[in-house]
Amino acid sequence: MITLIVRRVGELLLLLLGISFLVFGSMYIAPGDPASMIGGPTATEADLENIRENLGLNDPFLVQYGRYLGNAVQGDFGYSYQTKQSVADAIAVRFPNTLKLAIASMVVAVVIGLVAGLISALRHNSWLDFTSTTFALAGISIPNFWLGALLILVFAVNLQWLPVGGLSEPFYTAEGFKQLILPAITLGTGSAAMIARMTRSSMLEVVRADYVRTARAKGVKETKVIWVHTLKNAMIPVITVIGLNFGFLLGGTIITEKVFAINGVGRLMIDAIAMRDFPLVQGSVLLVATLFVVVNLIVDIVYTYVDPRIKYE
């Protein structure tokens, strides 16, 4: 187990190196002169040359990349072209909102997904199964930004039960909790649908397994067959889907933050792309991608732990 973890962490570090190279390289080849973006329209050629010299923009690509990487490891991701604020600070201020949203939507996705998937499998081919699978299919097909807009329309505009947007209050206050409900449902629905589909198919597969038939033949109570013999094994692939979805939810916050005007990393990224503020784009993309691969690594390790049949060489 230890060897596996050490090896996977080693691979992760290499992957992170690759990600940083790709992200830095992408911004390097992107059209637009950073010096004139920093200097603004009034800067003279001498000013621009000064900026280039100070930031080391005249250095070869690999030198610049090495410097960026060295600084990034120490938490310095450069400064925004537009606001001149430190990228690390800009992200740090917004990251809690993004994380809050991702976790809340994960809770929504797991609760709805597991319940719907289990009901579907246990009442296979009933109207409950049909309703649940149809909803799951709709959940995958529905654009989440549209779902968010509809939820705002119904619950914020018409019924006025919940706020239209924002995520400024702490989540443990009544107002903060209310602010979190609609964004979490918006973002969690797609993942809930995927978890439901996976739970259903995994349960149906395990229910038909020989050992479950044997358990029934031995006269084990149906509830015990389901909750002890079936569920435990059926959950193994579901755990992977849940883990992978957490990573996707982190990516998905980008759109949800825009819909609900939440001040998070995703919105920071969209604005940065639109303004061609490359240091901000680099920093926020690096952060989200890093979190994604770290979460995937944890899922992988948990997976081996839960299912002892899996042995990595």
Partner: protein, 297 residues
Amino acid sequence: MSTTFSVETPQVRTKKKDRFVVSTMKRLLKNKLAVVGLIIIAIQVIMALTAPWITSYDPATQQLTKSELPVMSEGHILGTDNYGRDVWTRIVYGAQISLVVAITAVTLGLLGGVVLGMLAGYYKKWDAVIMRFVDLLFAFPGILLAMLIIAILGTSLINVAIAISIWSIPTCARIVRGSVLSIKEKEYIMAMKSMGASDLRIMVKHILPNALAPIIVFATMRMATAILSTAALSYLGLGAQPPTPEWGAMIAQGQDYMWTSPHLTVIPGIAIMLTVFAFNVVGDGLRDALDPNMDLN
């Protein structure tokens, strides 16, 4: 061995292929949801192709005296938007945009994915390099990779198509590589090699046709993702720019008028959902019809 080759004339092979296509289609048409999906896609395609004939309005021309008319207004069955543009017209032209962008993105993505997957699966020495590159692309969740590419190329619909195509490459490459790895060990490939067929010929004429089933299913499902992502990126302001009648951009514009004209948000969303749903169920149906045990991961 030689008798087998002489019996398999091109005519016999074409007949076999036809039989396979017909039997797959028969199985697909038994799936009710898939049939619904096919009908929705057919309507979309007809709408997109006949746009100038099924509506007399222009999608971009403003008529400020007729702004924000509700659904079922005279002459405007789906109402008008804040600039007085006919919503039905914009939905119809939006179908054109969605389909063209999605088809371009999926075709380019397939091209890249098939080439990389083939090379990785067929040549062992290429495998490690290509698959590490694919792993690297997989490290970006959701549309993040597409957004990174748009950050480089700039915001426009063409760049959205390119971004989605690059985002499609890693999944496609993995699927193709998996198929190639299993097919290349088959006896008939060995036979072709011993007969002196070139690698290119073996890959294109003998491996590719046998790896087509998962590629077709992937392409269908990817159409759904591409349409959804085009809309999402345009919604974020990174794709279609006004006054282009793109569905996602229409939702973004409509959201500002949600209090007075909710139909501006609701209608384009229904269009996206129906289209995405249609491609998803047809993809599901195709997978079942071609091979229920197909592994797309």
